[in-house]
Amino acid sequence: MKSFFKKILFFIFPLFVAAIMMDLYLVNMNSLYKEKASGLLDHANEIEILILGNSHATYGVDPSGFSTFAFNIANVGQSIYFDKELTLQNLNKLKKLKYVLISLDYHSLYFSRQRGERNIWSYYGNGIKYPTDNYKKADISPFLFGYDPKVSFSLVKKNILNKWEFRNEDYFIDYDVELGVSLTDTTMKGYISFSGTEEFVFNNEYYINRIKGFDNLINCSTEKELVLNELGQLISTLQSNGIKPIFFSTPTFKEYNTFLDSSIINDNLIDSKNLCKRYNIEFFDYSINHDFIKDEFFNPDHLNKKGAARFSKMLDSRLKLYNN
């Protein structure tokens, strides 16, 4: 029996040491969340426009397309609660901030946060917790419970490869921690892009399935009041600081739009109208814009780099009207 336990301990010991080393490494690891947060602070004195939202805004709004300094702090699956917290925790540092573009999509008002690892990764990067969620396990070990082993190993692998290729680590961070892949593009003013078009997802079956996911979320959601409340707090605080909040939505592919649930669209329209009226703000709604062609989309509801460049210029020209 003693020999059994001794051997087990000998066998486990290297694994235990490796897990601790991984944790130490991951605590200091860069990520898209950290990169965006530090980018925001680095440029705090220059930023005039802040872009918030989920993946639609993350990939769909390129700050370089604006004539004044813009920064994209949106992230995949980022809810309005995190938009609000990210903005408010940095508000006193953003001295020049004039406009905050808040993404209002088909499903934005129906989820308080995305359940799963992304919230934990966001917490590692931004330090923001969702009040009712438990982060104890994630605090104990990012390797086992936070990034989890698969993503952790992927991050290490990418980091080693970057070093191997003598790349400057500052410019080649691991962007998409979800799949453990780093994009080869560098983050510019918080923006990362999709390249090209995934041709095979432009068909009716894909549209139906994709929308089914959103519709299920929307129809099962009981969080709308909560989200509207968060949004209200964000808008009020911005307005009391003399900053102009503006709603916007990114274009989605025209054929895809035909499968969206019209009753949900109507509800969204009523909600956004009420919000605009209540807070006296404008909505740059491009969700039903049919100008954008397939070539400008990565998939039916995400713009690619090309589409984002044009869309950002469109937003910029509308903002210019305020300045004039």
């Binding site: 029996m1 020999s3 059994f4 066998f11 290297p14 694994l15 086992l144 419970f145 989890d148 082993p149 698969k150 993503v151 190993f153 799949l179 892949v181 095979f200 997802v201 068909n203 079956e205 894909y206 399935n209």
Partner: protein, 484 residues
């Protein structure tokens, strides 16, 4: 509590240490610890359903005692029927009530009598199909005087709820497992190490093979209309590996865990995908269930005796019931019937016992004939798995229709994973199949591996398996057989 969870990784060593250090001097105490641990393990899901296990165990314990003291055959029969009624009653209510209710309503509607199905909001208690069969086998064996009833209530309750195999088998026979609770267990170093090896291999099958395949399978079956026929075939093949990795992985962990506590549980899978015909496949797939149905259903029905019609009837009954045991859905019934159809020609031609040995026994390379037979058997099994995996019969048929109508070969592009992930999964399956083939003469694939290696190579091999388990632990999915 999932075997591939942190909770179990904490639970197991605690129970192990208490078992061998705190209670090893007293058999009753050791059994009591196992009983407590098993109930705790089960209650982790839903403590309310513990009452079902306790009730079922109590009934069968009392039925067993009564059966031994009653000589009147009619009374004995009544006692057995009580046990059957309670156990099958629980199973029928929790698992099949809604199915029967809806099927009756559909049948009435079909004949022009619109009928509103009453549907209950029932949660299926985890493992109910397994422990009811296990405890039922005890009553039947005592009734048939194949074994003496036990008076040791702790041993009996521990046998019914033994945590390694409580929720997904193997479905143990009382005659094999129960006597092990009567005898003092001594710690056996080699047995414990062997148990750990089997747990490791089981985790590899579950986490690396099954869960990895599951991501791809789920997407292909959900979005089959956008994929080519070749991608759908790939999806069905991946499902074959998913269900094998998932279920046989669970069985390996269960058997390995039991060995850590000094118990021997029956082998549940004997490398079924290397079978040369469907009869061999069924001797190697989910052995504990197949033999249960053989002993308690097929043979009492007359088995292979009687007229040809009776034989055919018995074959269809056993396969269809076996399919229906898996779930309250017509897809499982069709899956069972399809397997009966595969089996029937072999049975009628008296060729169902042709392949009793292991494929290419004692050799590494199989003959061309063996390769052809293994490939054919695997192919028809994969086809049947489509029904098993589909959400409904309509889903299964339209999946097959789409497969046939779009049968062209292309490099698969899966929505949820990249090409690299798909490629790695294929490589992992290839490595896994090779290891399984090389180790097919053992109880589990790596049983005889590494036994004559030096410690460094041995440990490196184990570390490699462990690291791959860690890497793929992200995609944690519940064991498929929990739903049965």
């Amino acid at each position: 509590m999932l075997f591939n969870s942190i909770e179990f990784a904490i639970f197991l060593p605690i129970v192990f240490i208490l078992y061998w250090f705190a209670t090893n001097k007293n058999l009753k105490l050791q059994n009591l610890l196992l009983l407590g641990a098993s109930y705790f393990f089960y209650a982790w899901w839903d403590w309310r359903f513990l009452s079902l296990i306790v009730f079922s165990s109590t009934i069968d314990y009392l039925v067993g005692l009564k059966l031994s003291s009653t000589t009147n055959e009619s009374n004995r029969k009544d006692l057995l029927l009580t046990s059957i009624f309670v156990n099958i009653g629980f199973l029928g209510f929790f698992k099949y009530f809604n199915f029967f209710s809806e099927s009756f309503a559909q049948a009435f509607t079909l004949f022009g009598q619109p009928f509103e199905a009453s549907r209950l909001n029932i949660i299926l208690p985890v493992g109910i199909s397994f422990y009811t069969f296990q405890t039922l086998s005890y009553s039947i064996d005592v009734y048939k005087r194949k074994m003496a009833p036990t008076k040791d209530i702790i041993a009996f309750f521990s046998f019914v709820s033994f945590f390694p195999q409580l929720v997904a088998g193997p479905i143990e026979r009382a005659a094999n497992l129960l006597p092990q609770f009567y005898k003092k267990r001594n710690f056996d170093y080699l047995k414990a190490v062997d148990g750990l090896k089997q747990i490791l291999w089981g985790l590899f099958k579950k986490v690396v093979i099954a869960d990895n395949c599951a991501i791809i399978v789920n997407d292909i079956f959900a979005n089959y209309t956008i994929y080519s026929g070749s991608t759908l075939i790939l999806g069905a093949i991946f499902f074959a590996f998913q269900i094998y990795g998932d279920f046989s992985g669970y069985s390996d962990i269960a058997i390995g865990t039991a060995r850590l506590f000094g118990f021997n549980i029956m082998q549940n899978f004997a490398f079924p995908y290397f079978s040369r015909d469907i009869a061999e496949f069924w001797r190697r797939w989910h052995i504990s269930l197949s033999t249960w149905f053989r002993d308690y259903l097929y043979i009492p029905l007359g088995g292979s005796r009687g007229s040809i019609n009776k034989k055919i009837r018995n074959i269809f009954i056993i396969f269809i019931v076996s399919g229906f045991w898996h779930g309250a859905n017509w897809t499982f019934i069709i899956w069972g019937a399809l397997n009966a159809l595969y089996f029937l020609p072999l049975f009628l031609l008296n060729k169902n016992r042709n392949n009793l040995n292991i494929a290419a026994e004692g050799k590494i390379i199989p003959t061309i004939n063996e390769v052809i037979n293994i490939t054919l058997t695997f192919s028809i099994t994969v086809f049947a798995w489509i029904f098993f995996r589909a959400e409904s019969v309509t889903h299964a048929f339209s999946f097959i229709k789409h497969l046939v109508n779009n049968l062209y070969i292309e490099i698969p592009k899966i929505l949820v994973v990249g090409k690299w992930h798909l490629f790695i999964t294929c490589i992992l399956i290839l490595i896994f199949t090779t290891i399984e083939w090389m180790g097919r003469e053992g109880q589990y694939a790596i049983e005889k591996y590494s036994s004559n290696w030096n410690r460094v190579s041995k440990w490196l091999f184990y570390y490699l398996i462990l690291i791959s388990i860690f890497i793929y632990s992200t995609n944690q999915q519940e064991f498929i057989y929990f739903q049965f």
